[in-house]
């Protein structure tokens, strides 16, 4: 057999050590490079088709606006890997797994509590940080997860502020509803809010009683029966937890069935969204939404609002844009401080977040040991002439609430 071994190719201890060092350097280099300036790969999971498509698409506007603003405030750019959850919990789970397999170093999403819960399980199992943009079901941050963070109020927080703000609106107008009918979607968020109403409302000594609670499917095509049933209770006002399509359907039915309640008190999405305002025009005015909102006086709020107006003229800034943007803000801020995309270091950095220059109402963004931002505050907003005005809490308003709202038959 020919002997090819010679001095230059022979493997000895010194050569082996040198080779090992070279290989280690090559393998480690991408991590070092990533830590030094490569964009963090963020898997964005949103319901961009299916029943929540309109809201999912709206949330994505917050994603589109993020990078240029981050650049202007000295935060690192993010590499967005987008996935559509199709408004389906199982699809959300599988898309999260695929994003991680494809190299996502952090997950963000998913607007809906059910879908966010599924993604949280995947993120925790794989050890990848997950920053929730919008999802209010309390259990998500009650599981002892180490990689899940939520910069959005829980159902209890939303409800507490909602009842306080409602009392403020009633007091300002001097008119109180004596009874309401509670209409809510029967998805994860809707059920969490329903349970929350039962637990939180008694603490606020509200002037009204709930005459009847009516739940419905968020994908329902016709809500005439629901509105007939609600109307039959003779309640003064409507308390609602809904989504976008059903909010439009409910309004149509209210008009058709010639029922103008004192007002609509919404504690969820749908009623303040652009598609709602555009579809219903004058008939879209009046509903009060008690929602996580933004502080119009903050510098970053003005910057985000200007960027939104430039890219999408005529689109009102809303919860979807604000909290999706802020979820990415948390990611970029943590990546800057962690200086690495290592998931554990990134999660530790998120846990140590202390952002005071933000968009949403309240003192800023930080997380408790459960990964929940407990400092968030909610506002009361009202649809007025196709625009949204803030009517509570005191000190953060730019208009007075119109309560009771103008009857539907007086607007046409």
């Amino acid at each position: 057999m020919a002997e090819f071994r010679n001095a230059s190719t022979a493997l000895n201890r010194r050569r082996l050590l040198a080779s090992a060092a070279a290989v280690t350097t090559v393998i480690a280099a991408p991590a070092l490079v990533r830590g030094q300036g490569a964009a963090l790969k963020v898997g964005v999971l949103l319901p961009r088709s299916g029943a929540q498509a309109g809201i999912g698409q709206d949330c994505f506007r917050g994603v589109e606006l993020a990078n240029p603003i981050f650049k202007s405030i000295g935060l690192p750019e993010l590499e967005i890997m987008s996935a559509d959850t199709e408004t389906n919990v199982e699809v959300a789970r599988s898309r999260a797994e695929k994003l991680i397999a494809d190299g996502a170093q952090l997950l963000m999403g998913a607007f809906d509590s059910g879908q966010s819960s599924a993604i949280a399980q995947v993120a925790e199992q794989k050890g990848i940080p997950f920053v929730i943009n919008i999802a209010a079901a309390p259990p998500i941050t009650e599981q002892g997860y180490k990689f899940v963070f939520r910069n959005f109020p829980t159902a209890g927080m939303i409800l507490s502020d909602a009842f306080a703000n409602q009392k403020e609106v009633f007091a300002a107008s001097g008119k109180e509803p004596k009874s309401v009918v509670f209409l809510h979607v029967n998805d994860t968020f809707g059920m969490a809010m329903k349970n929350g109403v039962g637990a939180v409302m008694p603490k606020f000594n509200m002037p009204y009683e709930i005459k009847e609670t009516i739940s419905y499917d968020p994908t329902a095509r016709d809500l005439s029966v629901e509105v007939s049933k609600a109307k039959a209770t003779g309640a003064d006002a409507l308390l609602v937890v809904s989504r976008l399509n059903d909010a439009i359907l409910l309004t149509r039915e209210l008009v058709k069935q010639r029922w103008s309640p004192m007002g609509i008190l919404s504690m969820g999405p749908g009623w303040y969204e652009d598609q709602y305002l555009k579809t219903l025009a004058k008939l879209g005015d009046g509903p009060l939404s008690f929602v996580p909102w933004y502080d119009p006086n903050k510098k970053l709020s003005k910057q985000l609002e200007a960027a939104l107006e430039k890219r999408y003229p005529g689109v009102n800034m809303n919860t979807n844009h604000i909290y999706t943007f802020e979820a990415l803000l948390v990611a970029a801020d943590a990546y800057k401080r962690a200086k690495t995309a290592d998931p554990k270091a990134l999660a530790d950095a998120i846990r140590a977040t202390n952002i005071t220059e933000n968009v949403s109402t309240g003192p800023g963004i930080s997380f408790d040991e459960k990964g929940q931002n407990v400092k968030l505050k909610n506002a009361a907003i009202q649809n007025r002439g196709g625009k949204l005005v803030t009517v509570a809490p005191k000190g953060a308003t730019n208009a007075k609430a119109e309560w009771p709202m103008t009857a539907y038959d007086k607007r046409r």
């Binding site: 088709s49 299916g50 499917d217 095509r221 629901e226 007939s228 058709k256 579809t279 008939l283």
Partner: protein
Amino acid sequence: MPADIYLNVAISGLLTGLVYGLMALGLSVIFGVVRVVNFAHGEMMTIAMYLAVVLFAHFGLDPLVMMLPIAAVLFGVGYVLQLTVINPFISRPEHSQFMLMVAMAIIIVNSLLMIFGPDAQSVQVSYSFDSFAIGRLIVDATKLYAGLAAILVAAALFAFFKFAPLGKAIRACADNYTGALVVGLDVKRLYALSFGLGAACVGAAGAIIVLIVDVTPPLGPAYTLLAFVIVIVGGLGSMPGALLGGVLIGLTEAMAGLFFTPSAKSMFAFAILVLVLLFRPQGIMGKRLT
């Protein structure tokens, strides 16, 4: 609860049920003659709904006015589909037909998603928010017009099958395939005509229902399922059965929502289906096969 509420909800359910019935009528016609189960039925209806949306958005044409032109377009689509794609599958095993129709359904849903996107689209005609008040009774104007239009189309179809020579020929074809061939009927063309008529029914139903329901591409499979429930309850292949099934399901959903909980509406429709399958498997107006 005031008594008028029951009547309001019953009328609303009845009117919606009539449109459901018209949609299911198409499925029944196709199965009754061609003996192919159209698993793309709801998806074909969404095509009609989108046609109505586009015609309204771009030309301001009322879907009720455009009902016949849209039905004609769907007739053409159904006719060509039957002649070119479905006809070769007529003599093949049922699972082959099933796969073909399901594939067509998937293609339609995804094509609509690519063209129109996932957002719900609606038609807001001048009477979208109108209603008629008769004492304490309130009737939704769009549902009333939709229900009347459904009755008109169904009546025209019944008259066609009862009195027109072509309709009689199609019925002969459905009753006895070999006999129809023996007397010299062009069965292939009659099958295509039948499929076209079924598609026209669903086209008219789509143009009507878009007044009541916002359209999204994933709506198709839900309506295919609903059409099946209706025709099985009414009797597969029976035209009056399809209308009756539609009305029954519409009423059941509405009244179940009122008496129990609205989120369980569909459950009651399926409960009726189970009862019919248990006690009258051929459907309320179907003929028992010997």
